[in-house]
Each structure stands twice: as structure tokens, then as C-alpha cells.
Subunit: 522 residues, 2 copies
């Protein structure tokens, strides 16, 4: 059977009537896109009644318990003027309560969908609606690979991951703090990270949020890269902000959010909810709280600059109640992500949700079982911006080189999944069955020859060969293949072209900024 | 944070007000069930129009191309009398065509849902409706484990897998030919396999289908185990039959189907469709063909004995068009499985669909990434009987001991997933947030303490510990943990009690049957 296929396919290809396909596996060029336009519906888990109950609980949280704002009287003032009930609770801390519906009203000016420009216009992405964008994992202090094990991340690692991301057709966005470059002072590393995204990728990226002035630096570097007027009129960078759950927004966060919003730039508003620790364990409660916190955080952007792009976000996690350790890639948060997708659609806002989550410490079977459950929920939820799409291991403590390769390949499979299920006379293929009739193979039918190049996802990593072939070739596992792959990718990586004057201007900006500050290491 | 949890939880538990939980991981006793009753809706991929187009294509296949029957004039006669258009095409081969709607009409007597009795009445399963049943993988000639690699399966391996399945709370059915016991003659091994299911499991199981007389033996052994009247009035065994795609039903298959149906026993009707080889590559066409073949095969049961339990089935696979090798756990068949679920619901019949598919040759990251994609489609499709839920590796050529352990744990996670998302005042947990207010952990809230034992899936295999703890404990991967696990499980396995007289009668039946035949090895 196998020989027959190859032979027939070769024969037909030699005849010259078909376009040539690269002989390397995993090309799938028909699936290459700057971002995915989904062709399948999201998975609606709950009916309207359940969703309305969650929204009512969200309203109760905001009206009866409120959110605490800290160290940012300006943000508090903005909400007070918009109608929030403000009560001081400590020095530089205020409890804000919101009448049911008030926050939802504030969000009416937030765009349901927006474009984030890339320096390469062909790689600009759409966020919201039927668009899906994959970005690398974010925020790990450690990196790991099979050769050196786990260690603190460096700027070299950071640049490596930017290069690996840029080299994969299955990511669309360069992400942000892919790993912490711990060899650079804390108050300067944002410059190196933003520069690495600008220099080694030509895709959109995230900027710094760890201090308002670092957010400002990130945006200023974009003005150098894109030009001032482009930045004024477009979203070219986003900040990824965390609430301090439960129900707190600290001043560093709100000042950063205001910085991005004032510049018309994008922002992501993420409650990181470890169930039982900082949210109710029950998913309905976690979803209500996540919605409440993210909505208030998003609303701040609209108070600063109506129409500023803002992304609702959810990171639902479970917890091992015996050890207190967070658990990732588990079934309950997967269901919660589906519900967050429904809630975001009712709010008509873009959603960041889930990712390739895992608690495994190795790029092993556990890692991909958990990641797949979590990533399926991300795309089935209708999530729009999927941060943590690649590299996530060790409960987000480590970026794994090998897992990065595995995850990007999985992201490719998800391109095929989201490409949907076409029903028409051609795809129904009755004439293909009729051509040879019962009992006869379809290898050589016109239908097969017409579709064979695009019908199926062709993994660039998984080994689909017969056992004997695989065994003769060394019999190695997916982790070892991934180890070979990332090294080969880095060796052949070529940076996308960047105007020399722009590059010099960026370097000059960084040098001046670095010279103006003493190093800080915490 | 972690210490605080443990301490608070312990303190509360010492106070004695809460039920005690086993300290061993992965117990999740609240999820133990003889079969799953799903609490989440299936994932509806297509709208009515797309589904109607597929059904129309199915009708065209059956009316314009037809199915070929071989070597079973009695089956052909049954269909002729029911109105099929029969044309001889060769010696002992007939082409049967069916007016649109005819096969669908024949299926109206097939039950939408039925019970398969287990010898332990507490383990009887429901098949159809909102019930989901997981069974081990089926039909591999090889077995593999980390210690010995790949080798031909033996009856010892077969018994081991029956014991491992019986030991897992996350499977519901003992399956059938879990692996081929190649050390037993081909014409006798069905006796040993059926006996192993009866002796080492107390769950429902599948019987032989490789020859009509072996099917009869399987049913006869059930009469010994359950008693004649029980077998006459209940489904106590099922046969798992394959069509010969494309569009052929051979005589061994149809005679076996008639054997099971005549005895009122269950049967599964599976087209094994390798896209591009024995079906169109395009999923719409594969679904139309799968529906056509399975419907005709199912209809035979109703011609033999109206009301006999029959399960519609689909095994959709992709193919590497470069090598001709089948590929498993890929995105297109996952979408196809969702559509097959919709088609089965419109037909109001139980569905067997998908499983833990993989082409990996090791229990590695590839294995579980592919398995998870495939199993998610199985349960999201609304599939009722999920054969191949555990152990599948190497494109079904090998049953893996380690993968079996991984898959059963994943099946546990899917119990939690199918347990759904509860929305009520308790699960919304607003009072849990209100109890301590913004900025305060929820570890010690009444809500957390009330729910912590059942809120989250607690894997018995995955390592969710901090890196340091995991490292100190040897830093092993999921495959090594699984290797330890299956050995420990076999060591502590205890066979469920079986009446001695029944056991003797079964052994006597087998001895007589074996003595009556010379060994056949092919």
C-alpha cells in the first residue's frame, strides 16, 4: 500500500501537471498566515442562563465587595468622576464600588477588534473577532534545555527565543518577556528585551510593564522604530498587565496601563487566578471574579483614552490542595476558558485566554498532555490573543527550548484545526469513490491527486514513519528531536533586515537611557 | 503561600468537621462511576446545512455506487427482501444499492441506548444517550515497554492488560483483543482472550469476530458465565466488526454480525478509513462514506433481529502522502470525529469514535500530544463507546504498557472534564470573596474548605510538585513513572471473585473446544 502510493504520486508528479512540494516535512505552506482567521465556531459550554448568572455574580462582586486601588490617586479620580463609589481604606488605598452595569458601559468604547502593526506590514495582526494570534510564553525566570538543565535566563536566551519564534511559521507575535534576562540589571533589561524583539523579529511584540517609566521607554522606542505619527495613530505595542488578585489593582499596574492607553497603545488585563488561593476554587466563581477584575482594569484604559485597544484576559489555574502547588493543564480551567470565551463574546471584546500550560519539569508526555488540553481550550474558547502558546514548562517557572519546538509544531496543527471542515461537492468526493468503485484504493483518483498536498496537517516534528524506519534512524524520542531542531534553527537563523539608521537610533536611545541610571538588581 | 495552605487545611481537618481524604494522590473518588454521564454538551462543528449535505452524499454513495457483499448469500438475501437492488458482480460477490432513506428506515428499530451487563452488576454500562464508556485499545500485534522494547504480544501480556484495565477506575469496559496473544494458535486464542476478560475483570467486554464459529464460542462462554436466560434477554457481549473499505462487507464479517445479532448481542460497525487510501482525503467525504458503510453494516443486525444493539462507528485517519504511512492524532480527523458525533445524533444511534491515537513509537511528548487531540475529539463529539482509550502507540501496531498508564490517567482527567461546569450560588462563591475582601487569600474561607476535596482533578501520575522536590526525588519523566506504576499495579492486583463452579465450567468448555481442533497458526 505504501509503495503504491509513493509510486503513483511520483509518477503523477513527474508528469509535471501538479505544483511541486518541498520534500522537507512540515512545510504546509497553504496554512501560512500572519494570523489565523478561524473557520470553526467556538465551543459553547453554557447556555444563556448560566452565563447571565456569572455576569450577575460579577456585578455583585463589583457593587458589593469592590476593587481596591493602591498608590495611584489619579486612576481613582478617573473612576470617581465616572461614578464609582470611592472609600479610602488605608493610606494610598481606596475601595472602589461600581453600580451594576457601570463598568460594562465604560467598556462600550473599547474596540471589539483592532490591528497591531508589525514593522513588517505583512506580519501585522488582527486581535478580536474571528482572528487568533499565537505568541510565546511570558515571564519565566528560568530556562531549560536537555543539555544544561534548568538555569536562570540570560539575554542570550531571550534573543535565542525571539529568533526561534521568528523562525516558526506557527507563531504570529513575538511576545514580551519570553524569559527574564537575569544577567541585565532589573531597571535596564526592558530596553534590551524591546530591542531584541525589534531587531531579531519583524512581528508585533509586547513592551515593559514593570514600571511606568519602563512602559514609557518601550513606547518611545516604538516611536524610533515606527515613527511618531504611526505610533500616534496605530497600535504598535501592548503591555501585559496583571491585577493583584483577589480584587486589587496596584499603582505600578494602573500607572503602566495609563501610560499605554494615553499613547493609544494596547493593553492586556489579566487576573492570574489560582483557585482556592486568590479566587474561589469553583470555576463559576473564578470566571465571575476574572471577568470583574479584567473589566475594571480594561475600563481604566477607556477613561484615559476612549477607543484605546484593551484585551480582556483570563488565566485560570487549579491548585493541588494537598501541597498548595498550582496545577496547570487540568480539566476544570479548560472548561473555565471555554466559558470565558462566551463571556468575552457577550461583552464584544477581544480575549486573551489559556496557553500551553504544564507543571511538568521536562518536555515529556505529561508536558504535552497538559499543554494540549489547555491549548485546545484556548482555541475552542474563541480566544484571540494566546500568550503562552510555546515554551511553557514547570508551572511557568521555566521556558524550555525543547518544549518551545514541540509547542510551535502543535500550534501548526491548530492552524489546520482552525482551518475548519469544508463541505461542498468537491470535499464530499462521491465521484472519487465512484471512479474505481467498491474495494478499490483511491490513491490514484483525480480527487486524491487534486487534494493530497493540502488535505492533511504535516507535522514537522512528529515521527509518523514505520517503526523499523524510525528504529534504524536512531529510535529517538520527541524531546531529542526537538533538541536537535532548536539548535539547527538557531544555526540557520537570519535576522530580518532593519534600516541601519533606525538600528543606530535605537541603540543610541538605549545607551543614553542606560547611562542615566545606576544598575538595580531587584 | 504553599505552607499557609497546608497549615490551614490541616488545622481545619484536625478540628474534625470535614471528611477525611486519602493522602495518596489521584484518588478522586467523587468521580468514580461505572460509566460517565456527561454534563457538558457535545461540540457542534457544522450547521444543519452541512450535515444535510453529508447525509445526501451518503445517500448518493448507497444508491449510485452501492456496497459490495462477499461470500454471504444469506446476508444478501436479507437485504434483497428488504428492498435492496442486488447485482451479482463476481462469483460470490454482489453489489447492493439502496434507495435514499431505505437504510435509515431499517435502523429505526435499533436502540438509541442500551445496557451491556457486566458479571458484576455494579459495573454494567450504558451505551448511547448521555453515557460515555472508555475501553482499552484493540488489535495490536505487538506490545512494548521501556524495559524490553517492542515484541509480539503473548497471552501473558493480554492478561496483564486486562488486569491493568481492571485496576484503573478510569476505564469502564475491559475491551476485546487488547493485544494479539500470538503464542496461542489463531483458531484457539479467542477462547483464552474471552476467558481472561471473564476471569481477571468483572467489567463488560468484547468477544471474537475473526470467524463466525469463534463469535459463537464467545457467546456460548457468556451463557456459561451469565446463564442462558440472562444472555437471551440482555446484551452481555459485543463484537467489534470492520467493514472492508471502501464499500465492501466480506462474508466473515457479515456472518459474525449475524451471529451476534441473532443472539441479541451487541455489535460495533467500523469503517477504518485511511484518507486517500480507502476513502476520499477530504473529511466531508470520509464522513459521508463512514456513515454509509456503518449504516449498512448496522442495518444487517436489524434484518436479523430487530432491536438488536448496534453501534455506529468511525475511525478517521489521515495519511502522510509522501510516505503513504497512516498518521494518527492529527487535526483533520479530530474535526471529522466531531462531525460524526453530529451525524450519529441525527440518526439517534450510539457512536464509537476516535481514541488515544498516536504514531509515536515511544510513550513520549508526541504520543500524548496526539492522543490528547484525538481523545478530546472523542469526548467532545459525544461519542459513546470509546475503544482505543488506553495503550495505543505506533499507529495501533503496539500496545504500550507505559502509555496505558498515561492514557488511563488522562481518561481520569476527562471524567472531570465531562463532569461539567456547575453554575449556582454556591459555585459562584461571591461570599467566599466577600469573607476576607480584596487582597486577602481564600485558603481558609468556608467556601474553600467546603470544596477543596472535589474542586479539582488530582492526577495520579503527573508530577505537579515544585522543581526542587521533583529533582530531589530523582527527576524522572512521565514515562519512567508510568513504568514503575504498571509494575506496582500488577504486583498488587487481585482478581475479582468468580464462582468456582462457573470457572470450572468455563475451563471445561475451553478444553473441549481446544481438543476438537488442530492448531492453526495463520
Amino acid at each position: 500500500m505504501q509503495l503504491e502510493t509513493q509510486e503513483k504520486v511520483r509518477r503523477r508528479r513527474r508528469s509535471g501537471s501538479k505544483p511541486q512540494r518541498s520534500s522537507a516535512p512540515g512545510q504546509n505552506p497553504h496554512l501560512y498566515v500572519p494570523y489565523i482567521t478561524r473557520k470553526i465556531p467556538p465551543y459553547d459550554l453554557l447556555g444563556d442562563e448560566g452565563l447571565s448568572q456569572i455576569e450577575a455574580a460579577c456585578d455583585r462582586i463589583l457593587s458589593d465587595i469592590g476593587m481596591e486601588f493602591r498608590d495611584d490617586p489619579e486612576a481613582v479620580d478617573l473612576f470617581r468622576k465616572a461614578g464609582a463609589d470611592v472609600t479610602p481604606v488605608a493610606q494610598n488605598a481606596w475601595n472602589l464600588r461600581f453600580e451594576p452595569g457601570m463598568v460594562r458601559d465604560l467598556l462600550k468604547t473599547a474596540p471589539a477588534r483592532f490591528t497591531q502593526l508589525a514593522r513588517n506590514p505583512e506580519k501585522s495582526v488582527e486581535i478580536g473577532g474571528d482572528a487568533t494570534v499565537f505568541a510565546p510564553s511570558y515571564g519565566s525566570p528560568f530556562v531549560m534545555d536537555l543539555d544544561q538543565g534548568r538555569r536562570y535566563g540570560t539575554i542570550q536566551d531571550f534573543e535565542n527565543f525571539v529568533k526561534l519564534a521568528q523562525s516558526s511559521p506557527w507563531l504570529h507575535h513575538s511576545g514580551g518577556t519570553i524569559c527574564e534576562p537575569t544577567d541585565i540589571p532589573v531597571n535596564k533589561r526592558h530596553l534590551d528585551m524591546v530591542y531584541a524583539h525589534m531587531r531579531y523579529s519583524d512581528r508585533p511584540f509586547l513592551g515593559s510593564i514593570t514600571a511606568p517609566e519602563r512602559a514609557a521607554d518601550s513606547i518611545e522606542m516604538c516611536r524610533v522604530l515606527f515613527g511618531e505619527s504611526v505610533v500616534d495613530q496605530n497600535c504598535v505595542i501592548m503591555g501585559n498587565f496583571n491585577t493583584t488578585s483577589p480584587l486589587v489593582l496596584d499603582g505600578v499596574t494602573t500607572k503602566g496601563i495609563r501610560e499605554y492607553a494615553a499613547a493609544g497603545q494596547g493593553s492586556i488585563h489579566l487576573p492570574f487566578l489560582l483557585g482556592g488561593a486568590v479566587s474561589p476554587l469553583t470555576m463559576a466563581g473564578a470566571c465571575a471574579q476574572s471577568l470583574a477584575e479584567s473589566m475594571v482594569s480594561c475600563a481604566l484604559t477607556q477613561l484615559v483614552r476612549p477607543g484605546a485597544p484593551a484585551i480582556l484576559a483570563a488565566f485560570l489555574s487549579s491548585m493541588s490542595l494537598r501541597s498548595g502547588s498550582p496545577t496547570f493543564g487540568t480539566p476544570e480551567p479548560a472548561l473555565g476558558s471555554l466559558v470565558m470565551g462566551q463571556l468575552a463574546r457577550r461583552l464584544d471584546m477581544p480575549l486573551r485566554c489559556a496557553g500551553s500550560f504544564s507543571t511538568s519539569k521536562l518536555p515529556d508526555a505529561q508536558a504535552m498532555q497538559q499543554s494540549m488540553m489547555s491549548m485546545m481550550s484556548a482555541i475552542q474558547s474563541g480566544g484571540h490573543y494566546i500568550l503562552h502558546s510555546a515554551g511553557f514548562l514547570d508551572g511557568l517557572l521555566s521556558m524550555s527550548y525543547e518544549k518551545f519546538v514541540m509547542d510551535t509544531d502543535m500550534c501548526g496543527a491548530l492552524h489546520a484545526y482552525l482551518n475548519g471542515f469544508e463541505v461542498n461537492q468537491d470535499s464530499l468526493g462521491v465521484e472519487a469513490l465512484a471512479q474505481n468503485g467498491p474495494g478499490e484504493h483511491l490513491f490514484g483518483t483525480d480527487h486524491t491527486l487534486r487534494h493530497y498536498e493540502t488535505a492533511y496537517w504535516d507535522s514537522g516534528l512528529n515521527d509518523d514513519q514505520p517503526f523499523e524506519t524510525w528504529d534504524e534512524q536512531g529510535g529517538i524520542d520527541a524531546a531529542s528531536r526537538s533538541n536537535q531542531r532548536w539548535k539547527a534553527t538557531l544555526q540557520t537563523y537570519e535576522a530580518p533586515p532593519l534600516d541601519i539608521a533606525t538600528d543606530e537610533a535605537l541603540k543610541d536611545f538605549m545607551a543614553r537611557k542606560k547611562a542615566s541610571m545606576t544598575d538595580m538588581w531587584y
